[in-house]
């Protein structure tokens, strides 16, 4: 295995981790502040991708498409929070899971009703397409580097928001003691709507960014949702820092596992069965990682709640 291949795979792991972070950050915020399990987070990711594809087809501008994905997902998030989610905070987690699962079905069939069953077209803009040569002779797609950059920017932005703004203070306060901050005169309902819309907007942005290199279709959010839950459990529920570290861990494991495991098994098995067993074990690897971390730290890497 060459150093170039390894370096490229590490970049791939970082990139997929950054995309996971965008989805997981919203999920962990919503869970941390409101104590809500939102299964429909993947649907907001899908809404972002579809909005981006529609706007890109209409205007031809990728930046407008990204803006539309953020706006549409935030609007859908705020709407859902006001109409449905608001009634669920006081209920137990089973009710939340049932209601947000129903939202997945409504979003999926609603999207199919509007856009049809065939995947939509959304492509990388010409100025971001093609590979560039990095130091060391690594050929790497510019778009994926851009994604890493966007992910880092969002992580920094969220850090600034949470630690240095009034909204961030309220979010942190909401996580710690929501009765107390509502007693201090903070409109907790409005705060929840804003947080929900913010989480949705991040998911929508991720959906649009990923949609350009994957396929924009109904049901695209559910596989991501599962990974995002793994990320926030690893990182510790409610912690943005945990979401970032967890996302990068999952991204790197998921990328490097399928590369190394078949080679590893190839040392003592014949190639065909090494490939099969390696591939099967590689797809379990992130769950093994999650289990190991939970044994070591039951509330996740940066979890605050016991």
């Amino acid at each position: 295995m060459s150093a170039i291949l390894l370096a490229e795979q590490v970049l791939n792991g970082l990139q997929s981790g950054m995309m996971l972070f965008l989805t997981a950050a919203g999920l962990t915020l919503i869970f941390g502040v409101m104590g809500l399990i939102n299964l429909a987070h993947g649907s907001l990711y899908m809404v972002g991708a579809f909005a981006a594809a529609a706007v890109a087809a209409y205007t031809g501008s990728f930046l407008l498409a990204l803006a539309a994905s953020i706006a549409a997902a935030a609007a859908a998030g705020a709407l859902v929070e006001v109409l449905v989610i608001r009634r669920l905070y006081a209920r137990d987690h089973l009710d939340q899971v049932l209601a947000t699962f129903a939202l997945i079905l409504i979003f999926s069939e609603g999207t199919r009703w509007i856009y049809g069953s065939f995947p939509l077209f959304l492509n990388i803009p010409p100025y971001l397409s093609g590979p560039i040569t990095l130091p060391g002779g690594i050929q790497y797609p510019l778009y994926r580097l851009t994604i890493i950059g966007v992910g880092l920017a969002v992580a920094l932005g969220l850090y600034g928001l949470i630690t240095h703004t009034k909204l961030g203070i309220r979010i942190r306060a909401g996580e710690n003691d929501r009765e107390m901050i509502s007693a201090l005169g903070v409109d907790i309902g409005k705060l929840y709507t804003i947080i929900f819309a913010l989480g949705a907007a991040l998911a929508g942005l991720a959906g649009a960014l990923v949609g350009a290199i994957q396929s924009v279709q109904v049901g695209m959010g559910e596989p991501v949702l599962i990974l995002a839950f793994v990320v926030i459990v690893i990182g510790g529920i409610g912690s943005i820092k945990g979401a970032l570290v967890g996302a990068l861990l999952v991204g790197l494991t998921d990328t490097l596992g399928p590369l190394f495991l078949p080679c590893l098994f190839g040392l003592f098995l014949e190639p065909a069965s090494a490939a099969t067993i390696g591939a099967s074990l590689a797809s379990m690897l992130i769950y093994i990682l999650m289990a190991a971390i939970l044994v070591w730290r039951p509330s996740g890497l940066y979890g605050v709640r016991a």
Partner: protein, 383 residues
């Protein structure tokens, strides 16, 4: 005047003939279980629409159709099949897209004396020892298009191909099928996760492998993702695959990234025969989109069934079996016959993805395999 009159006569005869030939063999109840919601819905919708078009054109009031959505879930497909057999009293089942669903439904349906006509899934388990006189596959045996891709790779002179497919039975069958005819070396062999959407890691391995070409089987959204990412990676090795990743339903979503890609198929819209020309035109007129190979399979399945209904009553099982096996219908694929294990003997063609105006589509560029049957005929004990 006289010329125009002469032209009308054959046209009238053509209208009158089917009506006269349509002997009344009593009603046939057909249950269609297919995927109409969820990620794979495009395939099921195309099969259904092709089937409905043929039924509409035939105007045979004896065919009664029930359509249900399996949501791509084996348990739901089994429930639907049970209900159709027990309370709807269907005689014929059809429609299933996915091999794992077919394996859950077909064996028990044919064991209960029902007919099953597969418009898509053709798992090897139902072609070999598990074959049945009441089970007919109108599309292909699963390995066929991959075998043709292997044969094409030989013709194209590829010596060192990188192959990959998802890690599930049809994916493993795909790699087996490809290797059955491909004679060169393999620079790498990968099994990806089913439903995987990011192929950065695989593409990096292709780049590092020193391959001279790539064969992949990634149906539906997986193929869209792979092709877009592959095109963006800057690797320009030729790509070969079965038609499933290049069907009409998904090409628009892939866009220019698929241009020039070679794929193997038993059908294409520019295949020259009268039945196909009429099918492509009427499908577009009816639904406002180009037909995919799935639509052509649905259309052929309905026409096969209609042809058998004209010859024998469904209640006479032996006669109806024989009528189906005769395959006396105008397939949009041209020549079409059943091998002894009730799977097609047909040409597999080579297609290239091209752009016509704003539409991405395929055109035929050659034949990969002529009159290809399948590798499981010997294992099946049907006469």
């Amino acid at each position: 005047m006289k010329l125009r009159y002469l032209a009308i006569v054959p046209a009238m005869a053509a209208f009158a003939l089917p009506a006269m030939a349509q002997s009344d063999n009593g009603p046939v109840r057909v249950g269609m279980i297919t995927t109409l919601s969820g990620g794979g819905a495009g395939l099921g919708i195309d099969v259904r629409d092709g089937f409905l078009l043929a039924v509409k054109q035939a105007g045979n009031a004896n065919l009664e159709l029930v359509i249900e959505d399996d949501q791509r879930k084996p348990d739901i497909a089994v429930q639907l099949a049970d209900r159709m057999i027990q309370s709807d009293n269907v005689d014929v089942l059809t429609g299933i897209i996915w091999s794992n669903l077919a394996m859950a439904v077909v064996p028990s349906a044919v064991a209960q004396g029902k007919f099953y006509l597969s418009p898509n899934a053709g798992p090897s388990a139902l072609a070999g020892r598990g074959c049945n006189a009441n089970y007919f596959n109108v599309a292909w045996q699963n390995d066929n298009l991959h075998e043709a891709a292997g044969a094409y790779s030989n013709d194209a002179g590829y010596q060192n191909t990188f192959i990959m497919a998802p890690n599930y039975p049809a994916g493993i069958d795909a790699l087996t099928g490809f290797k059955r005819f491909y004679q060169g070396e393999l620079s790498g062999e990968l099994l990806t996760k089913l439903g995987q959407t990011d192929y950065a890691s695989e593409i990096a391995q292709i780049r590092a492998s020193g391959a001279d070409s790539v064969f992949f089987f990634l149906p539906g959204g997986m193929g869209i993702s792979f092709l877009k990412q592959y095109a963006d990676s800057g690797i320009d090795l030729p790509v070969v695959g079965p038609a499933f990743s290049f069907d009409q339903g998904i090409l628009q979503a892939v866009g220019a990234a698929a241009l020039g890609v070679i794929n193997t198929s038993q059908w294409n819209k520019d295949l020259e025969n009268a039945a196909n020309a009429a099918f492509v035109e009427s499908f577009q007129a009816e639904y406002g989109r180009l037909p995919s190979l799935y639509a052509s399979q649905g259309f052929d399945t309905a026409n096969l069934l209609l042809s058998a209904m004209d010859v024998a009553p469904v209640s006479d099982m032996d006669a109806f079996q024989a009528a189906l096996k005769a395959a006396d219908f105008d397939s949009v694929r041209g020549d079409f016959a059943f091998a002894s294990n009730n799977h097609p003997i047909q040409n597999i063609y080579v297609r290239e993805v091209v752009q016509e105006g704003d539409i991405f589509t395929n055109r035929l560029i050659g034949v990969a395999m002529e009159n290809r049957s399948n590798a499981y005929v010997e294992a099946c004990n049907l006469p």
